[in-house]
Symmetry: C2
Subunit: 945 residues, 2 copies
């Protein structure tokens, strides 16, 4: 670390900031500048002032303001504003008095650095010059004082090169060429191998480079050096790199305009064994532990740490090596935190037993550390609960709550798909759900790999650690089911050619055979060959505490999307305040139920269908009992059957294949039967049993005939049920109305399950929710089912049930008819996946594959509306629906159970429009609770769009 | 016609109507009752009063009010209210004095009828009794006065049967049995064959029936008869038939409550050659001609007309037969029209040279007559223009504007489908578009019959008189194209099994072979075997006049959905004020263009695609020139390409079949090539040319190879472009943004066509419209294309163009972002087909096939929202969009171009929310103009939902 010593400038204070007056104040000493005024002093300058003024030992110096920079850039001939250099001279005199050195004093030279620094950090975008004040004479003095010629010449040649480059625009190559020539002549390989004589030669040659390139000598006068350096630093604000950077990151003049030039006294950590340099965090940025964390090197410069020539020591070792310095460092740490109320990432240098703090900024931490420090700093009284909650980024929590690829490992990805369900997992690639189940039960770690998944693959999901598909978007079956189970999923990895038939997948030239180990990262969409180390998630005590605090400030409740007792229990562990969405179709999908569901679909009459449903009823009832028990006494919101029933049928192509296979088999069997008949005949004819030998018992071809007929029936039904636009088809309440027995059976199962629980003394709060509603009349009919069945069940069980009835708000028209719906609905739950689809007329799968990428690239949509709630469109509709609904029914409960319910910005929006709760998948509950707390702390009031 | 004579009651007037007071007034003489108070007097009673009071010769009588009826029904023991019978007796005394007859006077008997009549007509639902006042004594008197014993006994036996049935509830069978017995004994077949003795015998037996069934004698006292008759008529209001009828037709107590009982003096048209009876319309109800139109019979009763025993004469013949009576009839006609200001349908009887008017009501007419009479009555000063416009039902106009099945022909329908495009047509069934084209050019009348149609069938549409499909809904390709062309279409006739391969269709047991004549009625969805007579449409001068008047009152303009110059010309004839929607994809569909479109879709690079588009450009340009010329100087709104491009590709299954066929062919050819090679070899070997004979020139199998490869490429592309929910897919502006060259080419073609016209001195007003827009940014990019190309084209042609740029409003989000869209759009055009789909999340095809029928049956939706604009949902959204759009851009032009734009109730709604115009298919323009005029005349004001 190249550093500098100094003291406040002598410029007179209390003059107004002005850009044109000669009496304007163009600079501030560190002990005078306003540490909060980053626009005027830049971030670095303001921080140096702040640290100086709270009594930290900062090398003295002063800040030339951004106003001076702008005045310089605006002047016709690029002249520094009148009066500035007078103020600089005065400030330098002040520095001289504070440091007891002289700027240009050959015996005891004062050296300074000039560093740029704007209001916003623009790392590496602007310029810095070190060691200003050195010339032939002062160099001698420096060498004499340090008794180190090598150190002196090294500092000198750095000044010449940096100054040449920044002030004169000489390219680094000009200097590097000479540097290499001298190294070559000296026969050394590394810079460290160069001695004082070689560095002296380099300095000499560098001076020649400057002369050759500029036609003038390198300026010897320190004040001339300083003036030119200030101009150069100010000019760098308009340098190409800086201009490009600001455009790229959208930095407007309101955010940062002009750079300050910080003139800082140099300090050196390489003047002997009482010197050192280092960087530290006030707390451990990896764990959040309340312990000074950092590295240092004795008798060294900053570059030595970066260059890696010597291995730095842990700061805690300083307690033995330099105990007093260590004590001062701990003290510095305490003072930083107690002043900034935030973990600090700071730089320090020890010059001859004196500790200097050179820079400090808020420490960047991972999520675990961020959560722990929030809680501990609050408990220590450094921050309040509000501050603790606002300090943690909800999105960062994701990282904590899913296994993730170890960032230290950066294996190249084999392919990339959609980040469909977060988390990372490794396992053997298996291409079939049955095999996955079998091998998974044998204890193998498995990644299920498919072109796409179907409801009948569900057992394969349970058996796998993660799912990879080559087709489908973020709402594909694979994605939705995996998210529901909290398992990682990469979907639609189109670069992978999955060949389920041959049990392999090809990516470019690579083939993944069944059993090969792969790793998927559902948080990034990356797919890796082999096992890539992952980091396991932690639900720490600190997180529990922080979320409890967040709950105190939240107006929004957080419920879970959960379909099974397991998921419900997991949701409670994450702090769910109920179930906001239980998808009953999942209960139809289990392998033991699909055959009954198939019977239901294939039923020719209502009676046949009812018969199949009667077999489903006790199964669903026991599902609900499990769910109610797991969630008691919190509310459990159950959505009646939503998808079109053809989703439960096998694919047409698969059926056709199966029929083909069966028909071939039948032909073969028939052939064999003929053969057998012939054999028997021959046996009979020969009469001596010496015919064609024993006749095997063949499969009866009639059995096959029956199987073929059944498959053909199913195929016909599948074709009849096929829809042009299935998302807009015969589903949800439409199905519930055309086939009342389905919803009636489901409602009966819910009521009976609730009654069973009540009899057992378990408190239950079922909420029955109707999907795809677009008109009050639909809801009226569905409610009729409940009103009809409830007294019957209550009488049969001798209990009274507390059941709420409500509607999904996932069809645009439902929102437009909100007042009407409240006549029948006690609660609304926004299904923002479908609502987004209807509002945009985007089919998610089609959109994400065909045009959304371009829309995002061209800025036509800032976000994917299926990920981030579109507050301007979908949100406006929601806001209207909430308003209209509450106008007619003030006590209406309103929630959201679409995927957006787990997204922080969307949660903020839900808070603003006055929802009562959000519901999301269990692993996202902590994120949602934090976001809900932060929303509660943000400006209050229901947004009126 | 059984009729009666009478005079006003003597009941004192001016008493308040009350239901309970004994001083209440329970009846009104015809010369006193308020002819407007139908609720109190019933429709018939009020009309009898009205006619009496304007001086028409109505048989005297009085009305027992509906209040009396209700009081009777409410009384615990079904007693007539106190005072009523006193008032009846007084009224009868008044009648006696007016008619100079006596009620019960054997010498000169007064006979009356009692007829029910409620505020709303309920034909045949309630009861009537004739010839009250007859008994053994008065019968003698009647016979003596008429010298006609047969007439007297006939009247008597009718009284006994009607009274027995209505007052005593004796079934008709009891009477009919006796009637038949007497006929049998007399040995006659018809009632007319019965003489006075037989009718006397019948009367005797009827009196016995009454006695047997009731245990009492038939009442001889005329007043007793009258009291019982009034009770019976009042009681019939709660009869099962009447109650069922009111429930069926939704008649509420506010509309009609209770029936009046009209007591009317009987008059007889069968008392000699100076008697007659008839029915007439004041104008011809079939043509609207201003000529008395009707039929009469001399010396006859009403029944004689109905029984058809004698053929009635035309009223005009009366001028010779009974000139004075005819003059009076003409006078009656004039008085009726000048009083009622409406065509009247009236009944009359001439009794001994005196003309009586017995009943009148507004005449029901067909559309042609309705329009003609409106215009002529207005020109005659009978009604004003407002009245003329409001008098014609817009839906009735449909009938005028399409050929329709002659209602006199009621052939049974063979099958029924959806009424997809109105009108009727007969022709030979043809199952293939190519054949249809060929045969059509030969002058054959053709109905194109397909399972479903595709863009490549378009030439078949042109060649056909109508289209019949077995699949698809009202927005299927067939339906939309047929409507656009104004040709009849029955779509989705699922009962018909269309076998395109074998060129036949099967319906139940019937097979329609290619060439068989069928008739389709696209207004009802009926399909008939053979030719059913149709009536051709007429666009009469009267209609032109009426629509011009409607235009004067309309605030809404009416534009046409038209894609070709022919359609545009037709639209102008119908009075279109511009084109509101030109669908440019139709220009891609013509047979000569599809190959180029295919090249465009198959292009691997943007350059290749541009090359194909460059070939399309001049074609589209000339399309637009034609359209602009046909429509100049009116606005022409052109929608850029909307459907997903895969719609232009052949079906996957078809491609697979073609590839199969080609591969078989290739194998065969390869085989033949081997054979040919062998043949040549043998020829060479034998050296004498006597090998296997001449070697044919086979098709080169390599040519087939190339064709197969191309088809396979197309198949792959079709598969890649396939979408899960095509309605919500990669289409409209999304396509225009991912493939800018398509929209840029279209915009260039529009601009160049406009420039060409301007150079020729033709005034053009193109409006470029972007489909499927959901966000302002999309519109901004598309507008950029225009802003970019326009100066270039203007410079090249040296003209200035007047071009408007706007957006379809067919995506929900567009409505929700209306303010934003006005930054880039000068006009909005609601595409309510897609908007309805997005709002309901209904796919029209799927919905109409699967659940909409049940929704309609159960009353969940009153109308099919794809036919009648859903004002509560979609309409609310439109209303918000109009408000938000005009708030930010007050001059915004707003129209509608969905199919609803031609529907009267929807047009009314569009008027209410302040749209500027509606656009519809050319044949619906007259309907729309009339509806717009009527909307303009209805209560003003923009609806705020």
């Amino acid at each position: 670390m190249d550093t500098a010593i100094g003291a406040p400038t002598g410029a007179s204070a209390n003059e107004p900031d002005g850009a044109t007056s000669t009496s304007a104040r163009w600079l501030y000493a560190f002990d005078e500048g306003d540490g909060k005024n980053k626009l005027l002093l830049g971030g670095k300058g303001a921080n140096l002032c702040e640290m100086t003024q709270i009594g930290l030992n900062v090398p003295p110096g002063f800040v030339v303001t951004t106003q001076a920079c702008l005045a310089y850039l605006d002047s016709p001939d690029r002249e520094l504003p009148d009066g500035l250099m007078d103020q600089v001279e005065a400030a330098i005199r002040d520095l001289e008095s504070k440091t007891e050195r002289g700027f240009g004093d050959p015996a005891n030279p004062l050296l300074v650095s000039v560093r740029s620094g704007s209001a916003l950090s623009m790392p590496g975008m602007m310029d810095t010059i070190l060691n200003l004040g050195l010339n032939a004479q002062t160099l001698e003095g420096l060498i004499a004082q340090t008794s180190d010629a090598r150190f002196g010449y090294d500092a000198y040649r750095r000044l010449i090169q940096l100054f040449g480059k920044v002030a004169f625009g000489i390219s680094d190559e000009q200097f590097d060429k000479q540097f290499e020539l001298v190294k070559e002549q000296a026969g050394v390989d590394t810079d460290a191998g160069l001695g004082a004589p070689e560095l002296e030669e380099i300095s000499r040659r560098f001076l020649e480079v400057v002369h050759d390139q500029t036609g003038r000598a390198f300026p010897d006068d320190p004040l001339e050096q300083l003036e030119m350096a200030i101009k150069a630093v100010c000019g760098s604000w308009m340098g190409k790199r800086a201009v490009d950077y600001r455009r790229e990151f959208g930095i407007t003049p309101e955010m940062a305009s002009g750079t300050a030039a910080n003139v800082v006294t140099m300090v050196f950590g390489n003047m002997g064994s009482d010197c050192a340099t280092g960087v530290a965090f006030t707390r451990d940025p990896a764990t959040g532990e309340n312990e000074l964390f950092g590295e240092y090197l004795m008798d060294a410069q900053g570059e030595d740490v970066v260059a890696g020539i010597r291995t730095p020591k842990q700061v805690r070792e300083m307690a033995e090596e330099m105990p007093e310095m260590h004590r001062q460092l701990i003290d510095l740490r305490d003072r930083l935190e107690s002043h900034f109320h935030e973990v600090q990432d700071f730089e320090f240098t020890i010059e001859q037993g004196v500790l200097y703090c050179l820079q400090t900024r808020d420490g960047k931490m991972n999520a675990v550390a961020s959560v722990r420090t929030s809680v501990e700093m609050c408990e220590e009284g450094l921050i309040d609960r509000e501050g603790a909650i606002m300090r943690v980024g909800p999105a960062d929590l994701e990282q904590m709550l899913h296994p993730h690829i170890d960032r230290r490992h950066d294996a190249p990805a084999l392919a990339q798909g959609l980040a469909a369900s977060p988390g990372a997992a490794s396992g053997r690639a298996v291409f079939d759900a049955d095999d996955a189940e079998r091998l998974g039960q044998d204890g193998m770690d498995i990644i299920l790999v498919r072109d796409e998944t179907r409801p009948e693959d569900i057992h394969g999901f349970f058996a796998s650690r993660g799912v990879l598909t080559s087709r489908g978007g973020k709402t594909s079956h694979a994605a939705v089911v995996a998210r529901g189970m909290g398992k990682p999923c990469v979907a639609g990895a189109e670069g992978i050619d999955v060949d389920v038939l041959h049990r392999e997948a090809r990516v470019g030239g690579v083939t993944i055979a069944e059993g090969d180990v792969i790793t998927i990262d559902g948080s990034t969409g990356n797919v890796y060959l082999g096992e890539v180390p992952t980091v396991e998630p932690e639900f720490t005590d600190s997180l529990s505490t922080l979320l409890e605090w967040a709950d105190e400030f939240a107006r929004l409740g957080v419920r879970a999307n959960a379909d099974t007792p397991d998921a419900a229990r997991s949701a409670r562990e994450y702090g769910a305040m109920g179930i906001g969405l239980c998808r009953t179709e999942r209960m139809f999908n289990a392998a033991d139920r699909l055959p009954i569901v198939l019977d239901m679909i294939m039923a020719e009459t209502t009676e046949e269908r009812q018969e199949a449903l009667d077999r489903i009823l006790p199964i669903q009832r026991s599902d609900f009992v499990g769910l109610f028990e797991a969630m008691s006494p919190l509310p459990v919101t159950i959505r009646l059957l939503d998808p079109p029933i053809h989703e439960f049928l096998p694919e047409e192509h698969q059926l056709e294949r199966e029929i083909d296979q069966l028909e071939h088999l039948r032909e073969a069997v028939e052939g064999m039967e003929v053969l057998a008949d012939t054999a028997r005949l021959l046996d009979d004819l020969s009469g001596d049993g010496a015919g064609l030998g024993t006749v095997p018992d063949f499969v009866d071809s009639r059995v096959l005939e029956a199987a073929i007929a059944r498959k053909k029936q199913i195929l016909l039904r599948a074709q009849a049920l096929k829809e042009t636009n299935p998302m807009l088809g015969h589903r949800g309440v439409r199905l519930g109305l055309t086939h009342p027995e389905i919803y009636r059976t489901q409602i009966r199962a819910i009521l009976e399950a609730a009654a069973e629980c009540v009899k057992k003394g378990i408190e239950v709060r079922p909420q029955i929710m109707v999907p795809q509603v677009c008109t009050g009349e639909e809801l009226e009919v569905a409610r009729g089912y409940l009103d009809d069945l409830r007294p019957e069940v209550e009488a049969a069980y001798g209990v009274e049930l507390d059941v709420k009835f409500g509607t999904m708000m996932e069809v645009v028209r439902a929102c437009l008819r909100a007042e009407k719906l409240t006549e029948f609905a006690e609660f609304f739950s926004f299904g923002t996946n479908d609502l987004t689809q209807g509002t945009f007329s985007f089919s998610r799968e089609d959109a994400e594959n065909k045009f959304l990428p371009l829309y995002s690239e061209r800025g036509i949509l800032t976000d994917n509306p299926f990920e981030v709630l579109d507050s301007e469109g979908v949100g406006r509709l929601m806001s209207l629906a909430v308003r209209w609904g509450r106008e007619s029914s003030p006590d209406l409960e309103v929630g959201i159970c679409g995927e957006h319910g787990g997204h922080p910005a969307s949660i903020q929006f839900c808070h603003e429009i006055g929802l009562d709760y959000v519901s999301c998948s269990p692993p996202r509950i902590p994120v949602a609770r934090l976001a809900a707390g932060q929303a509660g702390l943000s400006a209050e009031g229901t947004q009126d769009l």
